[in-house]
């Protein structure tokens, strides 16, 4: 696979109250962003398990975004802060298994901030495109990393 034709697959876990709403608004504002993103809705980023991130990489994701409310604005008070902590620890874990930690990112996007949503996706796709395909999916024994 040449780098030019590499189309990364990125999973974005978006919290229902903010980031998912911003994605909706990006839609109604017809903002265009790369189609490499697959959104999975979650009630709160605090619900996201470290296992979800690892599993995504293991199955073949090239990048993962956890998108929550702005800090201080979490619908569940501090879910996004907990998510930030988990994302950060997972990023360290990625480094250990040889994946660039930039492949996993925590972002905070307010419900009205469609542009930030679109820009985040653009940036992430660019970043991951530069990094190339994630190696985890080629790992012979992927079970190990998520246990």
């Amino acid at each position: 696979m040449s780098l030019k034709s590499f189309e990364p697959v990125i999973i974005a876990f978006c919290c229902h109250y903010c980031a998912y709403s911003a994605a909706d608004l990006a839609g109604s504002a017809r903002l265009q962003y790369p189609a490499n993103i697959r959104i999975i809705r979650t009630p709160c980023t605090g619900r996201l398990e470290v296992d979800f991130f690892l599993k995504a990489f293991e199955r073949g994701a090239d990048g993962v975004i956890a998108a929550g409310c702005e800090e201080g604005s979490c619908h569940f008070k501090e879910g996004n802060l907990i998510a930030k902590r988990r994302v950060n620890s997972t990023r360290n874990l990625l480094a250990e298994i040889g994946l660039d930690k930039e492949r996993l990112r925590m972002v905070n996007i307010g419900a009205a901030d469609a542009r930030k949503f679109a820009n985040t996706i653009k940036e992430m796709v660019e970043t991951v495109r530069k990094l190339g395909p994630a190696q985890a999916k080629n790992d012979k024994n992927p079970q190990e990393i998520s246990s």
Binding site: R59, A61, A111, A112, R115, A118
Partner: protein, 1496 residues
């Protein structure tokens, strides 16, 4: 006598759909009342929906308000009536009859599915008021992106001045907008709807529309006639190029009623066209050899080529009109005969005879008449003879045409002479201009006296005309016979007017009036039934467009006559409603754009030929011209939206409706309007584009605003780096605006400065202020944080003026600085912090409802009954009561709801609806059977995503037993279809691929419930917002992605489980902790609502701090109020009073609390469903300023007591008050809110008691917010001296040689030293130290200052995050007595949402601990923000479902994977991830079922 007690109505009308109205509606509906939520705008949300971020938490306003909007829309007991006004209220408390006026939306609310196709189609851009006119919106649009209800509306203000001015009322704005869209054929059709002579009028109309065009007030009128011509020419060009065909020839149906039209002029042609279009058999009888009348014979070809005329007459002929030429009615065919052969006759014969001058010598050879001359000139075979020197008499269009025609036919010189001065000439100015250009001399102000010559003309003599019209504008020329001129001439052509042929009127035998046929002005019927007349033959010579209008009017009458209908009622002409002048677009700030001018044939190329002079506009010029239209009426009624809407949801003919509602009480929450900044002319708002209001700036900051959150200058679009805010624009300004303080602006600007700093690198913010009023909870800390930022400068000064610098358009702000010196600073942008005002219409409306207003025009209320208006049963909340911030607004809303509940207690649950659903189908042992519905969303999805391919692809997925695609899955028919498919295919999971679950999930959940399926067996894939709309350029990619998203949804759906909400029995008793004013008010509110209450007070008596209170700013005697409150509580049978009692422990959860009480060592347990914390606070202590050391240093509370008891006599003494004593410092960072008002209150009292005493107030910021500002002013007027000090330099009190206060003030050049007789300290309020104990028992948080922390600072001000526990009074934060009273009622209302239910439904999406797996580590207990997990008797974690909010934090934290969140289970997430990366085997399995592709 027997009195009949009428039963009270269990419904409440809430007027105003802002956050106050929404909160009141939710509280009422959740406590058993029906609510009508009335909103003036097309969506609820009010001012909050405009905001970007909120202070002091920095929450995104949209994020926090949107869920409330959705909740409101989902509640079946809240009926949202948008575009509505409460106009009348009759009846008494408990039984009102409310009259509501509903303005038309022009869109059927139950049909619109917000697909936005109308929006795409609408050509009209108007200033977007939501963004305060900084951007534009379409005339058809949603109020804002998240609008609730989620439907569109059309802005209409009446009809534009051009349409009103047009005699035929052509929809000018409409066709201009269609031209803008390059919909030329549609534009012409819209014109032809009112005028079949589109191309003709595009050339020769005298365009009265342009005279009224609003654009004229900016620069020049829009070139309307030329645009009409442009559109028509485009149509002709397309026809000539073979791109379009002419309409098929039609003939009237056999048996159609017959109409004869006499005359094929504009009037006759129009009537014939209209009537033929309606299916009548029309025959036009024309005396001459061709159609057109004056258009053909009177207008020269250089203005109107015959080709154009022939084209449009041909179009009319093809509509089925039969033309009989060379047939003169009255001569060749009698009227009698016409009446025999036809059911109706329309006489449109025009005027054919030229008037003569009646002067000496008119019979000489060489004298001709204009009409005859032109007629001859138009007939090719016999052109008129033209001599060398021609004089034309007359100043009208015919005279001009004659003169120019004579020139073209070979005259060597042509001169025109008329009575009128140049500007009075009846001819069109542009025609006169062209005449002069062609070398024709015009002599103005001369009347013919005699024609000279012997048998043959040699010249003509004129006398001077000194005036043409008399003072009543009647034609009445006055001559000066002494002033004469003579022109030599070989030919004189007289063109001074036309008249009706007398022979013709005689032949017709109809009644005449001043020489013209007599007709009814409305119907145009002559006195003879069935005979109508119109055009010049009834009015005298008039314009083409007037003739067309007459033809239209006659046609309407004739059609109705033939159908035996009333000819007078509701005619089209009556439907034309001009826009009120004040609603017309303002010329202010509009950029000037020159009017487009067509290329004309050069003068030197006109000689001797009749080539058309005007060439029409180029496409580019025409489109530019369309852009000049200001869209006066907003909606142009071009009807493009009607075509675009596939739901047939648009109806442009909707009218106003009046409805009546039976309600038990009314809550007024109309909100406020911002102060009109242009009233402060010195700041240049509306003149300087870079001066914005704070509301505009808020929209600018908003990511969904007109500039995507970029902070820019409106003049050049460049990022703004130097921004100034000016506070108190329209507030604290009794002389030129409003005296009161608007309460929130200081914080708004602080927030805006902070947010702008985030948005823009290198931003330098400057805030000009009088006092910074940061009196809310946590506000002062926020302000201090902002002040410490290097890039935000606070300058205490009120600028006097702003000057815009020419060229750069920078703004120079002039002000007096700290050193009292004049200074100027330059900025890129200035934001005016505009204050709040009650809307003018709101004020008037309130008066109509019998509501008293206060001196400022706000709703009049009393501080002790802050929610009651002057009319019993009508309550008020929010900014209409007094300017206030969101938390106080929301508090008052809940409080007003509680007032309504108290009034209507016996009617609770009488009018609410509980929907019944079929029994749920048990799917426990079933294999998944999934139905998939792919939505086209009209074109929204299907134009990009190949929905058939998606359907095909997903139908092959395992467990999918049915897959289809539908036009609008959310339409009624589609929803019925889903239900039918659920039954037919025994579906037990449903996946819809359409739009967002945020707006549409509830609709589909409802459908599943109606079909007997658990609503949680549903999954939505958002292929609109996430595919078609955001990848519209790559349909294939979007389709692939859509397939993946749907497959992921299917994978998840497979694992969905039905969730059943469990119910809990509710203990309907309340418990209030604290017996002060707040606690007592809350308890009384609850018992008045019909609940039993435990009131627990630690002290041995009721009353709390209020016992110490003697008077307030507004009330002389507060203690009688407190005493009466205590009496009511003590004597109420339903209040179980626990005095001298403390809370010893709390267990349980919402609906079922067990509270241990301890009284003198004696323990009891009571139960309740809800708890209200009203434990209060206390005056703070201080040892500063010699307090406790000198007897003459006392506190405000102490002096108040002394004053009340009459023990304090001021008697010429010096009293020094020190504000912020011990607060707003590092030790106590917050502002206590009440002290400034308290100091002002006591200062006024002192001055009143002894005007000779000197009262000094040493302060940092005077925070007399809202109407309390009035008393600050009063104190200053009374001579109280206010001296500002800075925290770095606090006052010093010494008591060495008598008490002396020393202060350094930035406002005084020298330090101030005052010999004080008394020093009075404002020490503020502090939280009791032992709040912690109660907080721990309730598992609720305290802030750094020891006050209880509510669930959300803005929108849940009296709730705790923990369900069922509420908060009010000083325990929450320091505040005024009226605010405590409001909060107490609010807490009661919130508690009532729990207590009013016998059973409480517990959220089903909750977490559950697997007891087997739990390792008792208690991580969940620690991590839950809501204290839902607890340790059970097995020493394992368990989650109280009633307390669980469903965030899932515990699930992901649990190290043993022992917890799962229902509906968001780990395996459901994993299934989606797995599905995404599923590599399908090469040999695709056959689809499980043949996909059903119909359904579209």
């Amino acid at each position: 006598m027997q009195t009949v007690v009428k039963k009270k109505t269990g419904a409440v009308l809430v007027q105003g759909g802002g956050i106050a109205g929404i909160q009141a509606a939710l509280d009422l509906a959740n406590s058993g009342f029906k609510v009508y939520l009335i909103e003036r705008d097309s969506a609820i949300g009010g001012m909050m929906s405009h905001l970007d971020k909120t202070f002091p938490t920095g929450d995104c306003a949209t994020c926090i308000v949107s869920p409330k909007l959705v909740e409101c829309a989902r509640n079946i007991n809240i009926e949202i009536l948008t575009l509505s006004e409460l106009i009348d209220l009759q009846g008494d408390p408990g039984n009102f009859k409310a009259t509501v006026k509903r303005h038309p939306r022009y869109i059927l609310e139950d049909k619109c599915n917000a697909c936005a196709q109308c929006h795409e189609a609408c050509p009209v851009n108007v200033p977007n008021y939501f963004d305060r006119n900084m951007g534009t919106r379409k005339a058809i649009a949603k109020h804002y992106a998240q609008a609730t209800p989620n439907i569109f509306n059309i802005l209409k203000k009446g009809h534009s001045p051009c349409k009103v001015a047009c005699p035929a009322n052509i929809n000018v704005q409409g066709y201009i907008q269609l031209i803008k869209k390059k919909e030329y054929i549609k534009a012409v059709n819209l014109i032809r709807d009112r005028n079949p002579l589109s191309a003709i009028c595009g050339r020769v109309c005298n365009h009265p529309c342009e005279a009224k065009c609003t654009r004229g007030s900016v620069d020049e009128a829009v070139a309307i006639r030329l645009l009409k011509r442009f559109a028509s020419d485009q149509e002709m060009a397309m026809y000539e190029a073979g791109e379009i065909l002419l309409a098929e020839e039609k003939t009237a149906a056999p048996g159609a009623k017959k109409v004869a039209v006499i005359g094929a002029g504009p009037s006759g042609l129009t009537a014939a066209d209209d009537l033929a279009g309606r299916g009548f058999a029309v025959t036009v009888y024309e005396a001459s050899s061709a159609g057109g009348g004056m258009l053909r014979w009177g207008i020269p070809q250089y203005r109107l080529p015959a080709k154009i005329l022939d084209y449009e007459i041909e179009l009319i002929r093809r509509r089925g009109v039969n033309f009989v030429y060379n047939c003169r009615a009255g001569e060749n065919i009698s009227l009698e005969k016409l009446r025999q052969d036809h059911q109706a006759v329309f006489i449109a014969a025009g005027v054919q005879i030229s008037r003569n001058l009646g002067v000496e010598g008119e019979d000489k050879t060489g004298v001709n008449y204009g009409l005859e001359f032109l007629r001859q000139a138009s007939s090719n075979d016999n052109p008129p003879q033209v001599k060398d020197r021609v004089v034309v008499v007359g100043g009208g269009n015919v005279a001009v045409d004659v003169a120019r025609t004579a020139l073209r036919l070979g005259a060597k010189s042509v001169q025109m002479v008329c009575l009128e001065q140049r500007q009075e000439m009846p001819a069109l100015p542009e025609e006169v201009e062209a005449t002069l250009d062609e070398g024709i001399k015009v002599h103005n102000g001369w009347g013919p006296r005699r024609i000279l010559g012997n048998g043959t003309v040699t010249g003509i003599e004129f006398k001077q005309c000194t005036s043409v019209y008399d003072k009543d504008r009647r034609f009445n020329p006055v001559y000066d016979e002494k002033q004469l001129i003579t022109l030599e001439a070989d030919q004189i052509i007289i063109a001074i007017g036309q008249a009706l042929d007398k022979q013709f009127t005689k032949n017709m035998g109809l009644e005449t009036e001043r020489g013209y046929f007599k007709t009814d002005p409305v119907t145009l019927e002559t006195p003879v039934k069935g005979i109508f007349a119109g055009g010049d033959c009834i009015s005298g010579p008039a314009s083409v467009i007037q003739a067309v209008a007459a033809g239209k009017r006659a046609a309407e009458s004739i059609a109705r006559y033939l159908k035996n209908e009333d000819m007078r009622i509701s005619r089209f002409e009556d439907s034309v409603k001009p826009i009120a002048e004040e609603l017309l677009p303002s010329a202010k700030g509009k950029e000037k754009k020159p009017r487009s001018i067509p290329d004309n044939l050069a003068v030197e190329r006109r000689n001797g030929n009749f080539t058309e002079i005007e060439s029409g506009l180029s496409e580019e010029a025409a489109l530019a011209e369309c852009d000049r239209c200001l869209n006066c009426a907003q909606c142009s009624e071009c009807l493009e939206c009607v075509t675009a809407c596939e739901q047939s949801a648009i109806n442009h003919c909707m009218g106003e409706r009046i409805i009546e509602l039976e309600v038990g009480s009314v809550i007024l929450t109309p909100g406020f309007e911002e102060f009109a900044a242009e009233k402060k002319g010195e700041f240049g708002f509306n003149r300087y584009p870079n001066v914005l209001t704070s509301v505009q700036f808020e929209r600018m900051l908003s990511a969904s605003g007109p500039f995507d959150g970029r902070v820019i200058r409106l003049t050049d679009g460049k990022e703004a780096h130097r921004i100034a805010w000016i506070q108190c624009v329209g507030s604290r300004d009794a002389r030129s605006a409003n005296q009161y303080c608007s309460s929130v602006c200081c914080m708004v600007s602080t927030k805006q400065a902070l947010v702008a700093t985030d948005h823009t690198h290198d931003l330098k913010a400057t805030i000009f202020y009088i006092d910074i009023r940061a009196h809310g909870k946590d506000f002062d800390q926020y302000y201090e944080r902002a002040k410490k930022q290097e890039n935000i400068a606070y300058i205490k000064s009120m600028p006097s003026r702003i000057i815009q610098i020419p060229g750069t358009k920078d703004l120079r702000v002039q002000f007096y600085n700290q050193d009292r010196k004049f200074e100027e600073r330059e900025f890129d942008l200035v934001v005016l912090s505009v204050g709040m005002e009650p809307g003018a219409t709101v004020q008037e409306n309130a008066k109509n409802l019998g509501i008293e207003l206060n001196e400022f025009g706000f709703c009049a209320t009393d501080r002790l009954t802050p929610l009651s208006t002057s009319r019993p049963g009508v309550f008020v909340a929010g900014a209409f009561q007094e300017p206030k911030d969101i938390p106080e607004t929301v508090t008052q809303a809940s409080a007003a709801a509680s007032m309504s509940m108290e009034l209507l207690v016996e009617a609770r649950n009488t009018l609410v609806t509980n929907k019944l659903y079929p029994t749920e189908h048990d799917i426990t042992d079933e294999k998944p059977r999934i139905g998939v519905f792919i939505c086209h969303c009209g074109k929204n999805i299907a134009s990009v995503v190949d929905v058939e391919r998606v359907t095909e692809a997903v139908s092959r997925q395992p467990d999918v037993v049915f897959a289809t695609h539908t036009m609008y899955t959310c339409s009624d028919t589609s929803l019925s279809n889903i239900k039918q498919m659920i039954h037919e295919h025994r579906l037990n999971r449903v996946v819809v691929a359409s739009c967002t679950p945020r707006t549409h999930e509830p609709i589909f959940h409802e459908t599943l419930k109606e079909a007997g399926l658990n609503p949680n067996l549903f999954e939505l894939a958002n292929i609109r917002d996430q595919c078609s709309w955001v990848h519209s350029a790559s349909p294939n990619v979007a389709t692939d992605k859509a397939i993946e998203l749907v497959k992921m949804s299917i994978a998840r759906a497979r694992l969905l489980n039905p969730l059943n909400a469990t119910t809990l029995a509710v203990d309907q008793r309340g418990l209030v902790v604290g017996g002060g004013v707040s606690g007592m008010t809350a308890a009384l509110s609850l018992v008045d609502q019909g609940f039993k209450v435990h009131l627990v007070e630690r002290a041995g008596k009721l009353g709390g701090n209020a016992l110490e209170l003697s008077y307030t700013l507004e009330h002389e005697d507060i203690s009688s109020f407190v005493v009466s409150l205590i009496k009511q509580v003590e004597s109420h049978p339903n209040i179980n009073l626990h005095l001298g009692t403390e809370i010893a422990g709390v267990a349980g959860f919402i609906g079922n609390f067990q509270v241990n009480l301890s009284s003198k060592g004696e323990k009891t347990t009571v139960t309740c469903g809800s708890i209200i914390v009203a434990t209060g606070a206390r005056p703070a202590e201080t040892s500063d300023f010699l307090h406790g050391k000198s007897k003459r240093v006392i506190t405000q509370q102490e002096i108040e007591k002394l004053l009340k008891q009459g023990k304090f006599t001021a008697g010429q003494q010096n009293i020094v008050m020190i504000q912020c004593a011990g607060s707003r410092n590092s030790e106590r960072a917050y502002c206590s809110r009440i002290c400034c008002s308290m100091a002002v209150k006591n200062a006024i009292k002192l001055k009143k008691q002894d005007p000779d005493s000197n009262v000094f107030v040493l302060y940092r910021d005077i925070r007399t917010y809202g109407f309390r500002e009035k008393y600050y002013e009063k104190a200053r007027q009374a001579g109280v001296i206010f001296i500002r000090y800075e925290p770095e330099n606090p006052p010093v009190i010494s008591d060495e040689n008598g008490l002396v206060a020393r202060a350094v003030s930035p406002d005084f050049p020298e330090p101030v030293e005052i010999e004080a007789d008394y020093v009075v300290l404002s020490t503020g309020i502090e939280a009791p130290k032992d709040n912690r104990t109660l907080a721990d028992m309730l598992k609720v948080p305290l802030n750094n200052d020891g006050f209880f922390v509510e669930a959300h600072l803005k929108l849940r001000p009296v709730d705790f995050a923990n369900e069922g526990i509420f908060l009010c009074g000083l325990a929450h934060s320091p505040k005024m007595i009226d605010e405590n009273i409001s909060q107490a009622h609010a807490a009661a209302a919130r508690a009532a949402t729990v207590l009013s239910k016998t059973q409480l439904e517990v959220n089903a999406q909750v977490s559950k601990v697997d007891q087997e797996k739990c390792i008792s580590c208690m991580t969940c207990v620690r991590s839950c923000p809501y204290s839902a997990p607890f340790v059970n008797t097995d020493r394992k974690a368990e989650i109280a479902a009633a307390n669980c909010m469903g965030c899932g934090i515990c699930v992901s934290e649990c190290p043993a994977h022992a917890i799962q969140l229902a509906h968001f289970e780990s395996r459901q997430f994993n299934a989606m991830i797995d599905e995404l990366f599923q590599v399908l085997p090469e040999e695709n399995p056959e689809p499980a079922v043949e996909p059903v592709k119909s359904g579209v």
